[in-house]
Amino acid sequence: MRYPRRTSARADRFFAGLVASAGYFVLFALAGAAISMFWGGREAITTFGFDFFTSSNWDVGAGQFGAAVAIFGTLVSATIAMLIAVPISFGIALFLTEVAPNWLRGPVAAAIELLAGIPSIIYGMWGLFVLAPYLGEHIYPWVNDNLGELPLIGALFQGPPIGIGLLTAGLVLAVMVIPFTSSVMREVFLTVPTRLKESAYALGSTKWEVAWDIVLPYTRTAVIGGVFLGLGRALGETMAVTFVIGNAYNISASLLEPGTSIASSIANEFAEAVDPLHKSALLALGFVLFVITFVVLSISRLMLRQLKRREGTV
């Protein structure tokens, strides 16, 4: 009896080690990526110091590099994307789990998954050749005339209606993010026990009340996870943004003005970064993007912990 047990224990240890190494591989790869980007970018960071993060001067010819414009463009385009994508994704998921007739649920869910599979360059080309001219000709002039005059937010909408800029980038990103967030939301909405929903309906709740008071609280953690998955994609998206953001080192209050993002700057310039300082600045940009993503994820974790604590006390 002892002999077989020993082998099974050994096999168990071996298996545990195997799984552990797979787990540690993630940490190792993560640390490796962060360290190598930081190491590659150290020259730019030591040359310009803290100015690298706050200066908006990116002049390749003069060897001056400041990341503020790219950071600004990345955050703004991702924010626009999430402002549009989250409510729509919520609507899609709710429709598919609560409202839609059964025969429709399968096809629409499959369509969303297909949307997620479209390569980002296709979204970029669609953005440049279809969306941007349409926006530039029909939507942005109207936005300019009608929203540009508003107090406070008016400045956001004054600008050249050329169809290419931060707002267009945000719109394209929103379309790209929706499949991710909505399919996560749909999956988790399906996990809500029927008896909970049925009880609420039995008490006379409307569909909205069920969604807001039963489905959402039950699935909160996973929904926030889905939103941040989408945000991660929006922050790091490269090709589609490069096509429609305008690639100009320019910070402006107007969302219609062209700008640039971290990922699109790297895509545009990395191949011909001859000057070591230029290459280093681009790697440092990559490191900044890494840090931004890390901060975003940490915030989501903190929010979740906060939520759990509140649930515990109430």
């Binding site: 010819g61 050249p160 970064a273």
Partner: protein, 339 residues
């Protein structure tokens, strides 16, 4: 029947597999998108004639210089010549491949190619962001008889390191002191205004998309994508249209014989018929390469281009090198290249 076809296909595939190593002389190059259209034609025709394939990647002049310095390609290509000191430091040699021209292109409803005219200073003011409407008095004054709409001007420039940019801003610096002090020269500069496209292709695509857009591309890109290029006033004060003749005239004014390592920039050329933004494409190679056979294959290719590639170049609106210049290049090879 089907079986025999299958057999033949298999035999061919097998033969190809064995023949492939014999193509070890296949050569790779990378750089300027300026010359990509004609390079594609040359390599296709050269492959037919000699069986050697030339694989050229259009990644921009900045990229071409970076790739050859990293020795990842057999030759690099740039529209911005490297100064002799920089060549010497890197152990590189440099020679011209073909001459072409950078043309401003516009997208104004109702305006056809060659209809609008720019002077150098007006072009500089547009790219400085000082002239912002198409019906600005400065543009209207030099375009009598052309109705220009009250449309906003959107400047489109290159975002990658580009020899097309190098020649364009070199010209603007020569004609506008303000450009010279505010922006300056280089393969990439800090643009005062506008949006950025990657490669000649990218700039062409944006200008076509944006009403009121103005950009600058190599002539064959403008013609291929049927864009409205503009006429320019040259140094002699004459109006010229872009094309082989005006590029040729600019090339004829250049003094190649006294240019060390062919370091010569052709913008703002003198002469009544000269196009003001003519540009030369340069090939960069190691003087003492690791793989001599491949570098020999590159010079063989360009020897063939100088003789048999002239019509293809002309068809695509480039100017082939004049005879004396070809001779000078060949002398340069013998004197400098050790393979």
């Amino acid at each position: 029947m089907i079986n025999s076809i299958k057999l033949r296909v298999a035999a061919l595939a097998l033969a190809a597999a064995f023949v492939a190593p014999a193509h070890a002389a296949d050569i790779t190059g990378a750089g300027a998108s300026f010359i990509f259209p004609v390079m594609t034609r040359w390599s296709a025709d050269y492959n037919k004639a000699n069986g050697t394939r030339v694989n050229y990647q259009s990644i921009g002049s900045g990229g071409g210089i970076a790739q050859i310095k990293g020795a990842t390609v057999d030759f690099g290509s740039s529209d911005a010549p490297l100064p002799p000191e920089e060549l010497a430091a890197a152990g590189l040699g440099q020679f011209p491949s073909a001459i072409g021209g950078v043309v401003p292109v516009v997208n104004i409803p109702g305006i056809t190619a060659g209809q609008v005219r720019f002077t150098g200073p007006v072009l500089a003011d547009i790219f400085l962001g000082k002239i912002t409407q198409w019906n600005d008095p400065a543009i209207v004054a030099i375009n009598e008889g052309v109705t220009l709409p009250e449309t906003r001007i959107t400047v489109v420039h290159r975002t990658d390191g580009s020899g097309t940019t190098f020649n364009f801003v070199n010209y603007l610096s020569k004609v506008s002191p303000e450009w010279q002090t505010k922006v300056g020269e280089g393969v990439s500069v800090k643009w005062p205004t506008g949006i950025g496209g990657k490669g000649n292709e990218g700039v062409a695509a944006y200008v076509k998309q944006i009403k009121g857009g103005v950009g600058y591309v190599e002539l064959s890109y403008a013609l291929q994508s049927k864009m409205s290029y503009v006429a320019m006033q040259n140094k002699a004060g004459k109006w010229v249209q872009p094309g082989a003749e005006s590029f040729q005239a600019a090339a004829a004014s250049a003094d190649w014989a006294s240019a060390k390592d062919f370091y010569l920039i052709m913008t703002d050329a003198p002469g009544d018929a000269s196009w003001p933004i003519a540009a030369t494409n340069f090939i960069l190679m190691y003087k003492q390469p690791k793989d001599a056979a491949r570098s020999k294959a590159v010079t063989d290719f360009f020897s063939w281009v100088y003789v048999n590639g002239r019509t293809q170049a002309e068809e695509l609106h480039y100017v082939p090198l004049p005879e004396p210049l070809v001779k000078q290049v060949q002398e340069y090879w013998t004197a400098n290249f050790k393979f």
